[in-house]
Amino acid sequence: MTSSWFQDPTLLAAMLGALLPFVSFVLIMVFTRPYPKVSAAISVASISVSLVCAIFLLSSHWHLEHPIQYAGKWLISGEMYIPFGFLLDELSLLMLTIVAVISFLVQVYSLGYMAGDPGFARYYAFQSLFAWAMMTMSIAPTMLQFYIFWELVGLASYLLIGFYYEKFSASEAGKKAFVMTRAGDIAFFLGLLLVLLNFGNLNVLDMNSVDVTARMSPGLITLSALLVFGGVIGKSAQFPLITWLPDAMEGPTPVSALLHSATMVAAGVYMFARIFPFYSNSASAMAVFLAIGTITMLLASTMAMVTRDIKQVWAYSTVSQLGFMVMGLAAGSYFAGVFHLTTHAGFKALLFLCSGVFIHEYETNDMFEMGRQGGRGLKIPMVCMTIAAAALSGIPFLSGYFSKEAIMGALANMHNPIWLVAGLLGAFLTAYYSFRLIFIILFPSKIEKVHHAEHGGHASGHGHDAHHHAGLYWVMAWPLIILATVTVVLGFFQTPLENFLVGGHHGSGHGGGHHAWLPWVAVGLAVSGIGLAFLEFGRKGASQVGFVERVEPVRALFAERWYMDHFYRLFLDYVIYGIFSNLFTRNDRRVIDGGIDGICRATVGGGWLLSFLQSGMLQYNLMVMFAVLALVALYFFF
């Protein structure tokens, strides 16, 4: 397939696809910011071209034999040089396509959702920046380029989370997201430096080859793998850096969809998969990752069980599903993790976009309020959301089922059964909290429903006139239908995808086949989770109070996110401000300021002391002058 004739269109498509969003970002920011319609057109046009390029690349390289790499030297320092370019292999092609598809759908959807917003052009500029950063990151051939665009992804998500910057909580959330992911990124960068110093190369393909074990000692590999994984923890909101992601809900809903499915948080898992062979060199590091993924998944599931905010539920579920992906990857199944990333991108984007329709319609984030105002009247979003929630819960023959089974299979292959038990528990909780939400909106309590007809939503919505509204609704509905279709059918592409991704050179992709009982147990747990949710929220006369909400301390613990934010606050107050800041402030005041003051005082004092030499007596001056001249003469003549 990689004959020389084919190389040109490939390179062209890769460059076009990756660079066009950036061009559109610059164009919008520089020229067309005052014209929202033009800006949106530029952005959507560029992402459409990127989408076409990505699909072309994927389809033309479906039977890829060797990774294709185009790289120009970008930075040369001594013997080391860092290339900049494109690396097209199975994983990056798949990711490129996911990013392009989701970005495209989200941008189309935003035409409806963001209509009339004063920052419309700015919004599209940031969307383009986001798409550019993420796509170039996906096809980065070196970890340094990866890191640069990784940070750009962080920047773009900061800009979009804090999009409503005039709202204090939004700008705070943007800041929190940026700072917390930075904390992980520092570790990531240190890990990269460690690899660079000891291995001398950050090329993805080289890092994934067996050379690493030959050139680095096992301890060093473990250390650098753990450090690099810090980036995943920050970006994918793993334990202990979970809480920025729920707060990131302050951004517009399409941004959340993008952030949660294909870009920001997926970047972390993508990085894990990108240098997966490098990580697998260290068994102990993988054990740590597995533990982190499990803790994250369970913590986030519990948090999702008590919140009333529709977007928060999906945010926690994203965290928990990311935990699942990390578990799958850390359990050694490269394919399971990547496949779950792919399917999750589809149904999570769908969930957020559906929620966006509800939020847009009823101007509230509270799911009880949505149910009360007749949320089930919105047929398309309701159906799509139910499909996506079922996929999230792992109901058979939807995409989530297949990928979850793959992960469960990988976990079942572990020696220690605790991971599998944790995974199954997670699956149960996932089904419970997703259908808790669905049932709350679908079957609201009777009493309140009576006097809130659907008209209430229209009346309270500001500035949407009715005839305009229908058009916007359909602009938003089409991406939902497309994504729902993807969610339904994607699972059946498991085998082709597995052949494509894993091919011949990874034997670890298989797992599910050995445990015939496993799918039954998993599906049984998912169904029982849904059943529990139905008992508590769905059936007629249900109390609509979950079993954890009956126990106040537990509810408080979950609702306060296991007091993690309090812990961060205390940590900041006592350790950062109390110890480090304090020490550095003192160092600044005492040592640095004091040192400079001391030099000044010494100069003044020295001048004062020396001024006593100046007696004002002309003859002493003359004597000194004579003596000096005499000495100089002596020196020269003798």
């Binding site: 030499l613 100046q614 007696s615 004002g616 002309l618 003859q619 003359l622 004579f626």
Partner: protein, 102 residues
């Protein structure tokens, strides 16, 4: 007796006296006179070298004339400074002129 060293010795003596005078006298006029002594010592040196060593006998004498001219100019400037100092301090004692003391 009538050799170069005799003259050089006398000139050195005269110069030392001049130095001593400049350092020791507290009166500005005394210092001026001492400086004249040093200039004359230099003239004597020029004349002596001219007489005993130089092939062309004129050069040293011209220098001596120059030194006299310089001495005259120097005396004029110095005296005017002394007059200015006197006007300001009502004295020509050098110990009174210590305004720059630290």
């Amino acid at each position: 007796m009538n050799s170069l060293y005799t003259y050089l010795f006398i000139a050195a003596l005269l110069f030392s006296l001049g130095i001593f005078g400049v350092f020791q006298r507290r009166s500005l006029i005394g210092m001026l006179i001492a400086i004249e002594l040093m200039l004359n010592a230099a003239s004597i040196n020029f004349m002596a070298f001219n007489r005993f060593l130089a092939p062309d006998p004129i050069v040293g004498q011209i220098y001596a004339l120059f030194i006299m001219g310089i001495a005259a100019a120097e005396a004029a400037i110095a005296l005017s400074i002394i007059v200015a100092v006197f006007r300001r301090l009502r004295s020509i004692n050098i110990e009174r002129a210590q305004e720059l003391r630290g």
